[in-house]
């Protein structure tokens, strides 16, 4: 008897612990968006737990930016449901939403005459009423964000004069000042060299908030995202851990490139080695050798070839 009484308590305690660990920040169900009768996004479902970093990957025009725009309410989806902490996002006021979700966009307009610290202070906007003036605490918060992204010495420089990586970091600092629980970024690593790409994503990991980012570099996505969502033609092709999403057949199918996947020597997530000169159809028709590819790996591994041919064929059958 004593046991049967204790068990439910234990269960609820465990459950609440699990709940707190796996608290759902965002859940998207059956999201579709049509523009002039054309389906840009169709039937997208996913949910994201607190503290996770979700990478949205896919070819150009797959609908990555459109999906993000739906998430930060810049466009209204044709159908479907988006919930933020269990609340419909369409029910929130603009200000209440901006207090919970910060967004870093790809580009800012020209003639953007602001210093770095002024740009970062824009993040305070949703927290300020008409009669609230910028006070000492706000300035300290901006200074802390500047320090966190390593731009303290550029605080009074024009934002336009910063390098690409610094601009991206300044925009992330603005999001830090916005004090939100979810951060959405649209291709934050675009136009950055590899050092800044890694730096930017590592910075995101240190923030300890839930992040959704669209990203082009699959290896970077594999290394630094907890979960991936692969879009193609507005549909979700695969989602889950990098290992589940980044497989040779899925990449060949969606991106029309040929690759081999190995575990990364550092973190064990998929490391994608692309083969050049072999578009998917060439590979299917001719195999590697006919194109004179020099890699030892490829020439040696007859097994790999057989496996790839099989997986490609298998994927074609399954279709979308």
């Amino acid at each position: 008897m004593a046991e049967s009484e204790a068990t439910p308590q234990l269960n609820t305690a465990l459950n609440s612990q699990l709940m707190s660990q796996e608290k759902t920040v965002l859940s998207v169900t059956n999201l579709s968006w049509q523009l002039a009768g054309k389906a840009i996004l169709s039937a997208i479902d996913f949910s994201l737990a607190e503290g996770k970093m979700l990478g949205i990957i896919g070819p150009n025009g797959a609908g990555k930016s459109s999906l993000l725009r739906c998430l930060y309410r810049f466009i209204t989806p044709t159908s479907g449901n988006i919930e933020l902490f269990g609340q419909q996002i369409s029910a929130l006021s603009a200000k209440a939403f901006a207090k919970q979700v910060a967004v870093v966009l790809q580009d800012t307009p020209h003639h953007f005459e602001m210093t770095t610290s002024q740009l970062i202070a824009l993040g305070l906007t949703p927290h300020k009423g008409a009669f609230d003036f910028t006070n000492k605490q706000d300035r300290e918060e901006v200074a802390k964000a500047l320090d966190k992204v390593g731009l303290t010495d550029k605080a009074n420089q024009a934002y336009e004069s910063l390098s690409g990586g610094e601009k991206q970091r300044a925009l992330i600092a603005r999001a830090i000042v916005q004090r939100t629980k979810l951060l959405i970024l649209d291709e934050p690593t675009n136009h950055l060299d590899i050092r800044y790409q890694i730096q930017t994503l590592e910075l995101l990991r240190t923030l300890n908030i839930t992040v959704i980012t669209s990203i082009h570099d699959l290896n970077l996505a594999s290394a630094l995202c907890d979960e991936l969502l692969l879009l193609n033609n507005g549909q979700c092709v695969a989602k889950g851990e990098p290992k589940a999403v980044l497989t040779e057949q899925i990449i060949a199918k969606v991106f029309d490139v040929c690759c081999e996947i190995k575990p990364h020597p550092q973190h064990g997530n998929p490391l994608i080695c692309y083969f050049y000169g072999y578009q998917n159809h060439d590979y299917q028709n001719n195999g590697y050798q006919n194109q004179g590819y020099q890699s030892h790996d490829v020439q040696e591994s007859g097994e790999h070839q057989a496996a790839k041919a099989q997986t490609l064929g298998g994927l074609d059958d399954s279709g979308d």
């Binding site: 901006a98 207090k99 602001m114 000492k136 500047l146 303290t152 009074n156 916005q178």
Partner: protein
């Protein structure tokens, strides 16, 4: 260490010595202008006279100065105040419109307000009786100005957040249309009417009076207060519509409200003082060049107001026995001064 230093300094833009000098000059000008500007004019009046009239009228101290008191109190002072209000209102309207439309060439006459107002003025001058001229010209001008705003906003439809270009182009088209209609009516009207419309179009504060002052003053003050309370949102609009949206700003609402507010300021001022050009375009840019990296709305209003007061002083003193339209002087002085600042800034920029 660097962090500690920056925290102790705060993160506001570093003020340069030149900026302090500019603040000092502006403060002196603000204190001196009401007295100095009032003492200039056809009748010889000293600054001391202005002081004694003000102390007599406001504090009921001292003696009346007779005719000079009437000139100061009933003619010059309302005129100086109206010039200040007009300059401040047009400058702040220009500054806000340039920001919310993100178009550096936007000015208060964006929606063809000046053409609409002149059309209204021409209609009231030519079609209605001369006896109610003092009443009908400002009212006609206000109706014309409002009509042009309503037409432009109607042409762009409801979705203002994505229609900025369309709105600007509609403004140009409406402006030309009203301009042509006004010209046509003037072409068939008497030379006298044409001359008075021309003088009115170029702007003048000659009709300033205490009775006519309260409406522009109230409108400009209230509008300025609303703009200042929305300053944070207006500043965020500079980062682009989509970014402003992500900062919790209802972009289309804010833009529409600001457009209507600025149109109201402009329509009231145009109806009272005529179409004074260039100031709404030039003063915001000048202030921005003088105080780079800032967005000083109040300073813009102050500089615009002071500039307009002194332009009006020039307008009534440059030629003896005749007044010059202020619009001509603002354009001439403004363009020269603006080009000068632009050239000096370009030379400094590396």
């Amino acid at each position: 260490m660097t962090q500690a230093i920056s925290l102790s300094k705060g993160v506001g833009s570093a003020r340069r010595p030149l900026e302090y000098l500019l603040y000092g000059v502006l403060a002196c000008l603000t204190l001196l202008t009401p007295f100095a500007a009032t003492s200039f004019g056809a009748a010889t009046i000293s600054v001391a006279d202005v002081f004694s009239v003000l102390s007599h009228k406001l504090l009921t101290v001292g003696e009346s100065l007779g005719v000079r008191e009437r000139i100061i109190w009933e003619l010059r002072l309302p005129r100086v105040l109206l010039a200040f209000i007009a300059g401040a209102g047009l400058s702040i309207a220009g500054s806000v419109l340039q920001t919310v439309t993100r178009n550096p060439l936007a000015d208060p006459y964006l929606f063809g307000i000046s053409s609409g107002a002149s059309f209204g003025a021409v209609v009231s001058l030519t079609l209605f009786s001369q006896s109610i001229l003092w009443l009908s010209l400002p009212v006609g001008a206000f109706i014309g100005a409002s009509l042009s705003v309503v037409m432009v906003l109607g042409l762009c439809g409801r979705n203002l957040s994505t229609q900025v270009e369309r709105m600007l182009l509609s403004g140009v088209a409406i402006s030309f249309m009203f301009g042509a209609m006004a010209s046509l009516m003037l072409y068939f009207s008497s030379p006298q009417a044409a001359a008075s419309v021309l003088f009115w179009t170029l702007g003048s504060f000659a009709k300033a009076s205490w009775q006519g002052l309260w409406l522009p003053a109230a409108v400009v003050l209230i509008a300025m207060l609303i703009i200042l309370l929305n300053k944070r949102q207006i500043v965020a609009m500079r980062a682009g519509d989509e970014t402003a949206h992500t900062l919790g700003i209802n972009v289309s609402h804010l833009r529409l409200n600001m457009l209507l507010l600025c149109s109201l300021i402009t329509a009231i001022l145009v109806a009272n003082c005529g179409g004074i050009g260039f100031i709404g375009l030039m003063v915001p840019h000048t202030v921005r060049l003088l105080f780079p990296g800032r967005y000083p709305l109040l300073l813009t209003a102050l500089v615009g107001g002071l500039f307009m007061v002194w332009v009006d002083v020039l307008a009534r003193t440059l030629l003896s026995y005749q007044e010059l339209p202020v619009g001509i002087i603002t354009s001439v002085m403004g363009s020269i001064f603006f080009l000068f600042i632009l050239a000096s800034r370009n030379a400094k920029r590396i």
